[in-house]
């Protein structure tokens, strides 16, 4: 069976920040990769490598300085609305409105995605059942534990049934149980045929989740391939292989 068409495609994507006195910082240089439906694509790299900037460009929050990218066939620059309609974005520090309840937060984002109130209610019921959220659905978000909040965030990310999920270090600062709920969520998305872009620097998560990955360092892609291809570089140890790639780059 031929490979399905890529849902995420980045071509020579670059981002240059202009500071004061004409000083420039190249955060991302010539990022090129493609990710398909039913695939978890990992973006790895040390802090400051350019992972978050890349994901922000793909999710239309930042405009690329050069290059292009498409999500489900929609260009991130010329058609940002369509792109945002088919992605779900989650990061480790995504917040919730503290004075609203999870139900109110989810309803709000559902309405922004032009869902009807009936559709929203059905999806909330679905996620409440999946993540055990019934007991705190109507409690204010500022009274929730970090684990509960992350469950609400996951539900918010997937509420509108997006084809592409962009997860930027979603497990940062979470305990084991909360992290596990994220990992389970990613697996479920893959099984449902969604494309998941997953940025992390936790090698255990990479080993458990990623089908293919790109290692970014100094704004450039230093490695692009499957997990097995990465392992082939340094035996079975993913972390060792990762370090080798970084060392070769510098």
């Amino acid at each position: 069976m031929p490979d399905p068409a890529p849902l995420v495609e980045a071509r020579q994507l670059a981002k240059v920040y202009r500071g004061r006195r004409g000083k420039t910082v190249e955060a991302v240089r010539e990022l090129t990769f493609a990710a398909r439906a039913g695939e978890v694509f990992g973006l790895l790299g040390p802090n400051g490598a350019g992972k978050t900037t890349s994901l922000r460009m793909l999710s239309t929050v930042l405009a690329p300085t050069s290059g292009s990218a498409t999500i489900a066939g929609h260009d991130v620059v010329s058609d940002p609305h369509a792109v945002r309609a088919c992605i779900g974005f989650l990061s480790g520090n995504t917040g919730l409105y503290p004075r609203l309840s999870p139900r109110e937060v989810l309803t709000y984002f559902g309405r922004l995605h032009l869902m009807t109130d009936e559709q929203i209610a059905a999806r909330i019921e679905l996620f409440a059942g999946l993540f055990g959220m019934h007991e705190f659905l109507d409690r204010r978000c500022d009274a929730l534990s970090s684990g509960m909040r992350q469950k609400v965030n996951i539900a918010r990310t997937a509420l509108h049934d997006p084809r592409v999920l962009i997860l930027d270090e979603p497990t940062v600062g979470l305990d084991v149980l909360a992290s596990r709920s994220i990992v389970d969520f990613v697996r479920r998305c893959r099984d449902e045929g969604r494309c998941v872009l997953f940025s992390t620097h936790i090698m255990g998560e990479v080993a458990r989740l990623c089908d293919r990955l790109a290692i970014i360092h100094l704004g450039r892609v230093q490695f692009l391939g499957t997990l097995d291809e990465l392992r082939a570089r340094a035996g079975a140890d993913v972390e060792e292989a990762f370090v080798q790639v970084l060392e070769q780059a510098t």
Partner: protein, 495 residues
């Protein structure tokens, strides 16, 4: 722009900010509760201070001969006016003990040095009573009150009993040209240290022949105008002297067979078209713009910062930016809520101010006599000015809140903004500033001046057109700026 999305965002923001205690405080509690309490408290305090100051027994240094002379002058005045006072008394419908006769009783040379307290209290009440008297009778009553105040609300102290020693403070000096009794350091020191409110030196010899003489006799007073009680003492002496002078002048003129208006070549007869209601209306018109826009600003402040800098701080802004909504829709949705909050605060302020004035500050009987009714057209035009200013405040505060990295940083930016946007509204409180044409071009000052004129019933159409047009222009510019800020990634992701 998608109206449905704007509405969804505005509805959520409204739901959110209405659960914020700070917003509720500044939008509702401050205008409804705090402001009336503050206004009532301040006005009651000022009124109480004035009443207490006027009723206070003030220590005045005057030698025993001078004390006798003061009493003699007052008695002479009373003897000459007791019949006229009887007429006033009848007009006032005084039936209580004494009436003005009580004043005569108090002034008798053989009266007790510590007069009957009940009689003094009765006199004080009668002399302060408000009555619709003709001008001459009103003057008579005021003169009687002046005599009463100086003689029975003063504690006369012999300057010779003042203690020696001490030094005058910096900035206090004994003025030149004083008679030796007042040029004494201990007298000046007693005034400075508030042991006496003033010191008097009466020309007792000259006073004996005051009504027959042809020249003016000096009466020296030493006081400190920087102290309120000393100033009050001086005013009492001045009023007392006014009463005595009016009487002495009349006697002198009669002795010369001259008519009583001989000494007044031109008599001022003034007629004021402004009724008391209009005066109160003018005062409210001056106060309203400042109060209205100050509370409008504070009403917008917290919601504006909460939906911008607050969202950044809570890491929810990026999630919102990732929704399938345009930045303009987000900006408009947030703007709508801030604008509504500003308008609610403005409306509550106006209502609470009006109620405080009519049911709180003014005494009930007085409030019912004032017809504080602004013309519907004036209110309509005033409202047409509130809308663009509320929009302008909302847009500027949104832009500033969005630029800031955190709520705290945003608050620090709003302090200079308050000075810039609210303080110019105070110009309407300055009584002598008129709405001249060139002021129509100065932002905020024009609104304040125009509102004052409109509420007085003066429709300055040219001024109104320039003010409204320039304010609308500024509002559109501020809105465009806020919308532009919502499109700048360096601002949105500034952290």
């Amino acid at each position: 722009m998608t109206p449905r999305t704007v509405f969804v965002i505005a509805r959520k923001e409204l739901q959110d900010v209405l659960r914020d205690r700070r917003t509720l405080f500044f939008m509702m509690l401050l205008p409804i509760v705090v402001m009336p309490l503050l206004m009532l408290g301040i006005s009651r305090f000022v009124m109480q201070q004035t009443v207490e100051r006027r009723a206070r027994v003030l220590p005045i240094a005057v030698d025993p001969a001078g004390q006798t002379a003061l009493r003699a002058l007052a008695l002479s005045w009373w003897s000459a006016h007791k019949l006229a006072l009887g007429v006033v008394e009848a007009r006032m419908g005084v039936t209580a003990i004494g009436g003005f006769a009580g004043l005569g009783q108090l002034l008798q040379p053989d009266a007790d040095t510590s007069p009957d307290e009940a009689l003094v209290a009765n006199m004080a009440q009668m002399l302060k009573a408000e009555h619709d008297l003709p001008p001459e009778e009103r003057q008579l009553k005021q003169d009687a009150a002046a005599l009463f105040d100086l003689l029975f609300r003063s504690e006369f102290i012999d300057p010779g009993s003042l203690p020696w020693g001490g030094e005058l403070a910096q900035g206090v000096e004994i003025p030149s040209g004083l008679p030796p009794a007042l040029a004494d350091t201990r007298v000046a020191l007693a005034v400075q240290e508030k042991r006496i409110a003033a010191a008097l030196q009466l020309p007792t010899e000259a006073l004996l022949t005051l009504e027959d003489a042809h020249e003016s006799t000096p009466l020296h007073v030493l006081y400190d105008s920087s102290q309120s009680l000393s100033k009050e003492a001086f005013e009492r002496i001045e009023s007392f002297l006014g009463a005595v002078n009016r009487h002495a002048l009349r006697v002198r003129l009669e002795a010369q067979s001259l008519p009583s208006d001989f000494a007044e070549p031109i008599r001022l007869v003034a007629a004021n078209v402004a009724t008391d209601s209009r005066k109160v209306q003018a005062f409210l018109g001056g106060l309203l713009p400042y109060m209205l826009f100050a509370f409008c600003f504070f009403g917008a402040l917290y919601p504006a910062l909460d939906v911008t800098a607050g969202e950044k701080e809570r890491f929810t802004l990026e999630t919102l930016l990732l929704g399938p909504v345009s930045r303009l829709d987000i900006a408009l949705g947030k703007f709508l809520v801030v604008f509504v909050a500003a308008l609610i605060a403005a409306m509550l302020t106006t209502t609470s101010m009006a109620l405080t004035f009519t049911h709180g500050i003014l005494p009930a009987d007085l409030a019912s006599t004032f017809q504080i009714e602004f013309q519907p057209l004036a209110l309509l035009l005033t409202g047409s000015l509130v809308l663009p200013v509320a929009a302008l405040y909302s847009a500027l505060l949104l832009a500033v809140g969005l630029y800031a990295r955190s709520f705290k940083e945003a608050q620090s930016y709003t302090v200079p903004l308050q000075f810039l946007l609210v303080l110019p509204m105070m110009v309407s409180l300055i009584p002598d500033v008129e709405a001249e044409a060139h002021l129509a071009w100065i932002p905020f000052v024009n609104i304040s001046m125009l509102m004052k004129e409109l509420l007085k019933g003066n429709y300055l159409w040219g001024f109104y057109a320039i003010t409204l047009a320039s304010t609308l222009l500024l509002t559109v510019a501020a809105l465009a700026w806020a919308a532009w800020m919502f499109r700048r990634e360096s601002v949105l992701l500034r952290s």
